[in-house]
């Protein structure tokens, strides 16, 4: 019974996502949908390192921004298409994650938070000051549309809002499947073991540094995909894409959704991208409101919205199973 309801809900959600561009009365809703998709990718990748392996990383704005800048620089200067941009962005981010991650993980949890916050800051500084490559605060504009193709065989270019939307949704789906596959594998179980008890895990011959680094690198690479999509979608990349405020939003999503709870995280991402965007809350006021919300969640709802959803669904499950027995 409840399995049927669950399947129906999932089918309904997927159908809604697919037909949104057709039924949407305003183009603006499609835009919100696309932005939400980008944030879902970011939130899922953030959860991989924060929720699954329990290492608090603040490097996400940097990884997202590096992805966006790689796509912007390569496609404006060399006319590269989507897939090379994604691959090169992910490789660069992976390299930076290795360079920063290994020393940062060594001392303590605090130093990892610090080291990653340092990357976020340094990346923004470079974006602002390396004029010859990033154009500084003048931004890189006129980024071409995302395109996929092999020269001479076939070519597809996303030249409308609807195309962009479907492209982003497709990548959300791919990232979702990757993350789900990853966390239900042996690797994912090792992540959780390290999150719960690092010493016990290492006594069971799991190398914590290896698994933490794997999660950190994978999470950074997925975040860079979101950055590449963002660059092609918005067509302008400014140093503000690396703003540390992104971390605050991601933390709200993480804590609202409940660490490690994927449906909760996706719900949180939808709530915290779509609603503020729809209500058009001033960008400068957002951190004030978000900070207050985050503080309230932490103090009063430590297990997050996902925890509530689980509790409610357990209650429903109990009542339906009791009905079954009747």
């Amino acid at each position: 019974m409840s399995r049927l309801i669950r399947a129906l809900i999932i089918i309904f959600i997927v159908a809604f996502i697919v037909i949104l561009p057709i039924i949407s009365p305003k183009r603006y809703f499609i835009h919100i949908g696309a932005l939400t998709g980008i944030y879902i990718i970011l939130a899922l990748s953030f959860d991989l390192v924060v929720g699954q392996v329990g290492a608090l990383s603040f490097a996400h704005p940097a990884f997202f921004g590096i992805g966006a800048y790689v796509a912007a620089i390569l496609s404006t200067n060399f006319g590269t298409s989507l897939i090379p941009n994604i691959v090169l962005g992910a490789l660069l981010v992976g390299l930076i994650a290795i360079i920063i991650g290994i020393p940062s993980f060594r001392l303590s949890r605090y130093s990892f938070a610090m080291g990653t916050l340092g990357i976020a800051l340094v990346a923004q500084l470079i974006a602002k000051n390396w004029y010859t490559v990033t154009n500084g605060p003048l931004c890189i504009s006129q980024i071409p549309n995302a395109s996929i193709g092999f020269p001479g065989i076939f070519h597809w270019e996303s030249d409308s809002l609807t195309d962009d939307y479907y492209l982003i949704i497709a990548l959300v789906g791919i990232v979702f499947l990757i993350v789900r596959r990853l966390i239900s594998s042996r690797l994912g179980r090792a992540f959780k073991a390290i999150r719960e008890d690092e010493i016990l895990a290492s006594s069971r011959s799991m190398n914590p540094l290896f698994y933490k680094m794997t999660a950190f690198i994978a999470s950074g690479m997925l975040a860079s995909i979101a950055g590449v999509l963002f660059a092609h979608y918005i067509a302008v990349v400014c140093p503000t894409v690396l703003a540390i405020d992104i971390t605050v939003t991601l933390l709200i999503i993480e804590f609202l959704g409940g660490a490690g709870n994927i449906p909760g995280i996706i719900l949180g991402a939808v709530l915290f991208t779509a609603i503020p965007e729809y209500l058009r809350i001033a960008a400068s006021a957002r951190p004030l409101i978000y900070g207050a919300i985050l503080m309230i969640i932490i103090v009063y709802a430590p297990e997050g919205l996902g925890g509530w959803v689980e509790k409610v669904s357990q209650l429903i499950g109990q009542s339906t199973s009791s009905m079954d027995r009747d």
Partner: protein, 318 residues
């Protein structure tokens, strides 16, 4: 979040009248080097005052406060209001700022620290980061992003020692920082509250069973940390400017300082602050001024790689 320190720091420019005299290149570069050392001492003083408060709250309360730099920002705006908007003379304005910050620290302890102190470490980081973002945003809404300057008579009076020009304010900053450090050390070593703080940094539970009021100590520690940020603002704002984002980068640099100096180690923090300040000034002078704020992080990463417990070791007992 920008390179505000290098951007707004009025680097004492190399004196042109002196260079026109027949001086050889070596002397010129020597002058530039010493100018950069002076710059480094100013930056180091700023980092020392902010990082001492941070290392104190981390050592005693065991809370990683990512909003600590925002204390400096709040103090900066408070000082600016007193000095420029209300026209209060310089030294009284500084004193009022320091006292107000002590009260602010106590309020911060009650509203932010107290609800989360018993929770795990990552909650501390996330909660203080949230508060920090909210404070920056509130400052933008209240004061806009345009920089505010609060110059003092001392900043304009230039000293000349052996041909090196340095403003009285910069000398004052260094002297005040050194005095604050000595007073802080005496306070921690000799007073009853200081001893309670040291005891708290060693073992919170035992202290509570021995009848030390942990909440009171936590409140006093945050008052002290915020007051040190007030000292920093009172003496350093006159040569820089106040902008809403200035706290965030100072938080990061203060963390870099306490990682370099050894977390919870007051003497190490003090020395580490000047190492960072001087390395940043030398980077600004010799390599690239726009990337100078990166220097502390390079130093921090190097320390993490080769001496992860900090240059002067971690001393939990302060």
């Amino acid at each position: 979040m920008n390179n505000l320190l290098s951007q707004y720091d009025q680097h004492p420019k190399y004196d042109k009248s002196a260079s026109s005299k027949s001086e050889n290149y070596q002397e010129v570069s020597m002058r530039m080097f010493i100018d950069q050392i002076f710059n480094g001492l100013t930056l180091g003083s700023l980092y020392a005052l902010v990082a001492l408060g941070l290392t104190l709250t981390f050592g005693v309360v065991r809370l990683v406060n990512f909003a600590h730099g925002e204390f400096f920002m709040v103090a900066g705006y408070f000082f600016w209001i007193l000095q420029v908007e209300m026209g209060i003379p310089y030294l009284p304005a500084v004193l009022i700022t320091i006292l107000a910050m002590a009260i602010f620290g106590a309020i911060f302890d009650r509203l932010v620290v107290h609800p989360i102190i018993e929770r795990p470490w990552y909650i501390h980081i996330v909660a203080t980061l949230a508060v920090s973002a909210a404070m920056v945003s509130a400052a933008i809404l209240l004061f806009t992003t345009s920089p505010r300057a609060a110059p003092t008579p001392f900043a304009r009076s230039i000293f000349e020692i052996w041909g090196f020009r340095i403003s009285l304010q910069r000398i004052l900053i260094f002297v005040i920082t050194a005095i604050s450090f000595i007073l802080l050390n005496l306070f921690i070593k000799n007073t009853k509250i200081g001893k309670a703080m040291r005891a708290m940094s060693q073992d919170r539970e035992v202290c509570i069973t021995l009848g030390i009021d942990a909440r009171n100590i936590s409140r006093l520690t945050f008052s002290l940390g915020a007051a040190l940020a007030g000292v920093a603002a009172g003496f350093i704002v006159p040569i820089f400017v106040v902008i809403p984002e200035m706290g965030s980068i100072i938080t990061l640099k203060a963390f870099a300082t306490i990682i370099v100096g050894g977390m919870g180690n007051i003497k190490g923090t003090f020395i580490g602050a000047f190492l960072l300040g001087i390395s940043e000034a030398l980077m600004a002078g010799y390599i690239a001024s726009e990337y100078a704020p990166v220097a502390p992080f390079i130093l921090m990463i190097a320390v993490l790689m080769f001496k992860p417990e900090g240059l002067f070791g971690r001393k939990v007992g302060l």
